[in-house]
């Protein structure tokens, strides 16, 4: 199947297009170039840019988590901000109240969110498509208020939130806090990326995709639909939780207002812009949700929302398959140039 055909593959009556697993990743060469860029750029830029790049990776992780859920198993979620918040609070509370090392809090945040997502996946099993999207939407709207509840205030700090201490570079390494945190995040991100790619290539990944493409056929083939659907929810929530924990450390602050439905919609948007089901697109989607609002604001302060809307519309209209489409076109161009 050639790349051009792949773009055309949109199964009718299905909200999520079927992406073959081979098309979910980048080629070796491109991966290395991107990796080299991610490693080298921070050496030459200001701390502020490094901070932005850290946020880019963190949101990239969260977008990728949604991508596994939607692009992989075909389930929608507008509730990712809730998992992100749980991860962020888990890390923040463990660091500030229990005095735990920041690096150790991340796996815990991941596990807590995995459990949370897995449990939420149980009732969500009965729902699909827009109904599932709405159920998760409810979760996202409820989360900020739950965090404000008086019962948890002792730990969560209520509406005032919690201030988190930024870690220094260990072993006396001559790195600024920002740079250390960036490389730390980069390592975590790469590890999770590789794990995710392997997951999608594994038996479980094939089960996810079989469910996405046709649930009945999948169950006829012996895939435990219920288990794999909840598993996808759990994995996605777990990764989002790790991203949330990293986000809390990078921003040095958690408060309910940081994790509203707005965040969930941003992540969803990032996934669509990056290309549903194409994991490397997550970073592009993340860049979109971080930088495009700033660009919109630069164009018009009073109408920043409207400008953002127009830019988003243009992207959806011109490249409906997001960054993946752009990448494929670029690939074809490169191939043509080689031939000539």
């Amino acid at each position: 199947m050639s790349a051009a055909e792949e773009v055309e593959v949109v199964t009718e009556g299905q909200a999520v297009e079927a992406v073959p697993k081979r098309a979910m990743t980048l080629g070796y060469g491109t991966s290395l170039v991107v990796l080299a860029a991610l490693i080298l750029i921070p050496l030459f830029v200001k701390n502020f840019i490094i901070f932005q790049m850290t946020m880019l990776l963190i949101y990239g992780l969260a977008v990728m988590a949604l991508n596994i859920l939607t692009g992989g198993s075909g389930q929608f979620s507008l509730g990712q901000s809730a998992f992100y918040a749980v991860g962020a609070y888990t890390s923040a509370i463990l660091m500030e109240h229990a005095g735990m090392n920041y690096a150790l809090t991340l796996p815990i945040a991941g596990i807590v969110c995995f459990g949370f997502g897995f449990l939420f996946g149980q009732p969500a099993l009965r729902l699909s498509g827009v109904y599932l999207a709405l159920a998760t939407f409810a979760l996202a709207t409820a989360m900020p208020q739950l965090l404000k509840l008086g019962y948890f205030e002792h730990w969560t700090g209520g509406v005032q939130g919690l201030v988190v201490t930024k870690p220094d570079a260990p072993f006396g390494l001559p790195l600024s806090q920002d740079m250390w945190l960036y490389y730390f995040t980069l390592v975590v991100t790469i590890a999770i990326y590789i794990a995710s790619v392997n997951l999608l290539r594994s038996r479980s990944g094939r089960a996810f995709m079989a469910i996405r493409d046709n649930e009945i056929a999948a169950s006829a083939m012996g895939v435990d639909v219920a288990l794999y659907k909840t598993l996808a929810f759990g994995v996605s929530a777990g990764i989002t939780g790790v991203a949330g924990g990293l986000g809390a450390i990078a921003v040095q602050f958690v408060a309910p207002d940081g994790y509203t439905i707005q965040l969930a919609i941003s992540l969803f948007l990032g996934m669509v812009v990056g290309g549903v089901g194409w994991l490397p697109g997550s970073i592009v989607g993340s860049a979109f949700i971080i930088f495009v609002p700033n660009i919109a604001e630069g164009i018009s302060k009073g109408l920043s929302g409207a400008v953002f809307g127009v830019l988003l519309f243009l992207v959806i209209f011109l490249v409906p398959h997001g960054a993946r489409q752009v990448a494929i076109v670029a690939q074809q161009l490169a191939a043509k140039l080689k031939k000539n």
Binding site: K46, V159, Q160, A255, P293, G302
Partner: protein, 408 residues
Amino acid sequence: MSAIRQLAAIAAALSLVSAFSSAALAQKKYDTGASDTEIKIGNIMPYSGAASAYGVIGKTEDAYFRKINAEGGINGRKITFISYDDAYTPPKTVEQARKLVESDEVLMIFNSLGTPPNSAIQKYMNQKKVPQLFVATGATKWNDPKEFPWTMGWQPNYQSESIIYAKYILKNKPDAKIAVLYQNDDYGKDYLKGFKDGLGAKAASMIVAEDAYEVTEPTIDSHIVRLKASGADVFFNITTPKFAAQAIKKNNELNWHPLHFLNNVSASIGSVIKPAGFEAAQGIISSQYLKDPTDPQWKTDKGMIAWNEFLDKYYPDANRADASVMYAYTVAQGLEHVLRACGDNLTRENIMKQAASIRDLELGGLLPGIKVNTSATDFAPLSQLQLVRFKGETWERFGDILSGDVGG
């Protein structure tokens, strides 16, 4: 050669002397963000998102600095006002604050809005030793010069306001049965805490009913019915404008007429009292520190005329019934005062020093008798209020100017 060396020595000695004496005024000194021609000021506002109604504060300030620049700037320096949108989300606030400090290289961040956003950047600003001046929130915690010497509040904080009401109740109605309605967030809880502190040991016996509402509720009618059933004869109304209007209206409908205290947040005639109906609002007690532009008593007031002229020329499409416009005008004047006082020494340290040595500053938008005062241990510039009672179609001031300073 030796002459030059001698000169250099003298120069060095001079600069040393000037650093340690007040003669520094004669010497031009700058930190990042200030120069002979420019002062860069950063600001963060929710221009988009749920709290975007407050964005008008940033726009008014921008207009005010345009006015200053048009009139020749401050000591010959033009103000560059860089204002970013954070949509009231703390992670975005951190990003914008870092952008302002590290990329735009501003001298300070001025009047950034909201308690959660400001909490998110407070530690960063203090680590970087960049002034976080006159933050736009009424929380009590900004007055903490010991822990956070680079952060300063502006308006009277919520706790000192409710302490004033508590004192009034203790004095004039010591056997009151009080019902409290408050918004379930930091703002509502801060007010409630101040109120209870103000009542002291009697709080538990005097407050007979306490009810919280969520800002997302469409109406608070059921809360009012519940509070009325408690048999209270004093009602402390800690609500934001939309809900305050509902509460006043519902009280009237239910024919419940307790002694009604309305927090300053919702004391606007234009956006609260008028929609609720003048009839229903008679006798309500509140407190003010700013002149209400919709109040006819200020029609011929000098400060109000200047405010109107400023808006006519620099911000003609402003909604003059919006209390935020007057607020922003006043706080921008406060900053103007600090910058003028800094003279040619525009270091971040001197900004904080001058901001912490304001004596009896009177501004056109403040009620007569209310003054801005700060010191090295008092980082709450405005802490005075005057009680007002609604009569006819206007607030009638009564009693002395009161103060209830509280630290963070």
